[in-house]
């Protein structure tokens, strides 16, 4: 073994390995436990602020929602959703593409329709 590596390893006492393993376990279990909450599990479609549909994000499907200037088409796929088409002139909500984070939102203002993703314990952002 490389002599400098064995020098560093000689500084580890038996209990140090145990503490290292415990720390690794603690860090390991924190990943799924705390990052799972950021994933979205349903898409909420609103017209004029009122919920018109809640779609689970576990299957691919399309939903056409009529608004004042035409129909906005919402498309879902496992874990994500998007506005597939919209009659609005600037297409901002369509250009946002697929949304996958809880709290993400696409607003088709001309047609008064919004698509937002919700999850357990969702946040728009964390600032500090």
């Amino acid at each position: 073994m490389n002599p400098s590596v064995s020098l560093w390893l000689s500084l580890m006492r038996p209990g140090d390995w145990i503490v290292t393993a415990l720390g690794l376990m603690l860090a390991g279990v924190s990943y799924p436990l705390l990052w799972h909450g950021g994933a979205a599990d349903r898409a909420v479609v609103r017209r004029d602020g009122a919920v018109v549909a809640e779609l689970p994000l576990n299957a691919a499907r399309r939903l056409s929602v009529p608004g004042p200037i035409g129909a906005t088409v919402i498309e879902t796929a496992p874990g994500r959703a998007r506005v597939a088409s919209d009659p609005g002139p600037r297409q901002y909500c369509v250009k946002q593409g697929w949304l996958s984070q809880a709290g993400a939102i696409a607003i088709c203002a001309p047609n008064h329709i919004s698509l937002s993703l919700a999850g357990s314990g969702s946040h728009d952002s964390i600032a500090y």
């Binding site: 209990g15 140090d16 503490v19 690794l24 860090a27 705390l34 314990g121 946040h123 964390i126």
Partner: protein
């Protein structure tokens, strides 16, 4: 108390013990590391190597918990003054982290030395440090469970820097043991 030759005002002279000199030397080293570390860019605020803890670990091993507590807390106060964080949120995060670390180090002193060295102390203290910081952050700065989303990152950083700092402290301690009069050079 001695009489000052000027205006006859009384002057209080504080006796400076060798202990004070030693703690001041170690604290100066820890503060220097804190300031140097403040210049290192961090991908996430709060994730820092905590190099000053190497000094705290060495003091703990050589001079006991009381001296380590002095060095650690002097480091927090003076370090925050130097980087302009005194009484800012970062100061309280740092202070609470340091207090939790010292508490855990006090308990860890009870572990058998033959099996648990500076690396164990360092890892335990690093986890206690993020625990204390998250406590302040959750209760006061970001009163929302959102702070816990960062726990995996903090825990990973604590583990890595805990091991590295512990190894560096262990190596410096070994060098000091082989050259007992070298202490003045390092601290």
């Amino acid at each position: 108390m001695t009489r000052s030759p000027i205006d006859g005002a009384s002057v209080l002279t504080l006796a400076v013990t060798p202990d004070d000199h030693r703690i001041a030397r170690y604290a100066a080293a820890a503060i220097a590391l804190t300031v140097a570390e403040a210049a290192i860019p961090s991908p996430l605020p709060g994730v820092k190597p905590g190099l000053a803890n190497i000094v705290v670990l060495m003091v703990l091993e050589r001079h006991g918990w009381r001296d380590a507590a002095w060095v650690s807390l002097l480091r927090v106060v003076a370090g925050s003054l130097l980087v302009g964080q005194f009484l800012a949120p970062g100061f309280f995060l740092s202070l609470c982290g340091a207090l939790c670390s010292l508490l855990v180090l006090g308990v860890a002193q009870g572990l058998p030395r033959r099996f648990f060295g500076p690396v164990s102390c360092s890892i335990l203290a690093a986890f206690a440090h993020i625990g204390g910081q998250l406590l302040v952050a959750r209760l006061w700065l970001v009163p929302h469970d959102g702070v816990f989303y960062l726990v995996p990152l903090f825990a990973t950083a604590a583990l890595i820097f805990g091991i590295v700092n512990g190894l560096v402290a262990a190596r410096l301690l070994r060098q000091l043991d082989s050259k007992p009069d070298a202490e003045g050079v390092i601290a």
